[in-house]
Amino acid sequence: MTRTKRRRLAAAWAALFVVVITAVAVAVFGGETSSGVQARVAGLEQEVRCPSCGNLSVYNAKTASAYSIAGFIRREVAAGQSDQEIIDSLVASYGDTILMSPPASGVGLYLWVLPAVVAMGIGYEVYRSLGQNRVMEKPSRDEARDGSLARRRRLPKISKTFALWGGVVALAGLGGLAALAFLPGGGPAVGSELSAAETLASLGAVKPALQGFNQVLAKQPQNPSALAYKGWLQFNEATSQRDKSAALAVMSKAADLGPGDPQAQLFLGLALFYGRQEARQGAFYLDRFLADLPRHSLLAEAAPLARPVYAAAHWKIPAAFRVGSGVAVRVPKG
């Protein structure tokens, strides 16, 4: 082989090397591969809840809304949107409930922290139990000879304390499930009807709202939210003392049935003051309303009505009511 030929051959190999290295570099670093995009889309689909199928993610659901959201995610990914931008768009349309994981704030934070605390407690107890077993079980001569200790060590020994707390947690869980099954609120689904009636009530459409709450109560006569709203609307429409008393009785029943229902406590508290001038009794129910962690929008609407109740009762106005319209919520014009 002549010198010139060798040079040409070397140049050809060098060119081939550069092409191969460039191709590999582009494949590895130059933008997302199709499998990378697929993985991103699948990851987002698993983070987002199908809005019409309870607790299924979009990835696992087969409904029209799930397909629409999956299509939306694919389009947005193709348009170069980041994961956070896509999630933010969906939250802006559907609210936080569209996310499979609860937000790490409010009650959601409790849901995140509780399992970690329980897991740490269980881990600590297991570690301690094993340590105790090691200390306690020194082999006797006979055990060492016939191997009975080795057999015993294979069986994990659970301490009494561990078993006791395990039982307590299991019982509390069963209690919670039983409460979910038997407390008011169970029974036929009324969520959409109640929500529609609440929307009408918030806009002041008394007659159709009352019809809506009556429909809910036909299915769930003990529903505290529907009873509370019904009583409140009747109270505001009442022209005689007799009608006001009847409405108060309905609200009182609602407050008894739903100690954790903010509306039930709020409406009764306000009605007791504005209908019967019972300021202290009214403030008592308003305190219960605050203890039920109401929504910010409801709190903002309630604050101007609640402050006079505390003033009349000579009670200190709670900080939550003092913020008043400072909460960033726009209420209907009026």
Binding site: A92, G95, V117, G176, G191, L203, G260
Partner: protein, 176 residues
């Protein structure tokens, strides 16, 4: 040592009890419908091909009037229940009705609307992209949009002429 365990135990029971109480007093997740995040904000963009084949339709062209944006589908039984009411509503002139055909076949939707005499404008949304922007879970869902383009009510499920008329009347009385 025993005292420490007692304190830890009481705290644990209190925590579990609080958790159980919150769970027991909450509505099941499948029933929780929170107010739409769209309420009292400018309506999301809405435009698409007219189902009747008369070009593009846009919500923006309805500015200055109350509009009921109604997401429906020909395969949805509740939509069939509300359709005669919506047809009447559109004829009454109380409010403009703008239908959005959700995840549907155009031919099925056309015969569905013809059956109920619904002659208002309808946008096709075969891929459901408009419905995602509006946070629609399942049809029928309707949104009342004020003349200034703000969403002032969301109605989940079948609606009626009287409900929408009452809402419009109230909105007007509140200055919308």
């Amino acid at each position: 040592m025993i005292r420490r365990w007692w304190i830890a135990g009481v705290l644990l029971i209190a925590g579990v009890a609080a958790f159980s109480a919150i769970g027991a007093n909450s509505r099941p997740a499948s029933e929780q419908i929170l107010p739409s995040p769209l309420l009292y904000r400018q309506a999301p963009a809405l435009q698409g091909q007219s189902l009747a084949g008369s070009g593009q339709i846009s919500l923006a062209s309805f500015r200055g009037r109350f509009v009921l944006v109604n997401y429906f589908a020909s395969w949805c039984t509740s939509c069939a229940a509300e359709m005669p009411q919506l047809a009447k509503l559109a004829r009454s002139g109380t409010v403009a009705v703008l239908g959005v055909d959700y995840d549907d076949q155009a031919s099925s939707a056309r015969s569905f609307l013809a059956r109920y005499g619904a002659a208002y404008p309808v946008i096709e949304d075969p891929t459901g992209q408009n419905s995602v922007r509006w946070g629609v879970s399942a049809p029928p869902e309707s949104f009342l949009v004020a003349p200034d383009g703000v969403v002032i009510a969301k109605i989940v499920g079948a609606t009626s002429l009287s409900v929408v008329s009452d809402l419009v009347q109230l909105a007007k009385s509140k200055g919308y």
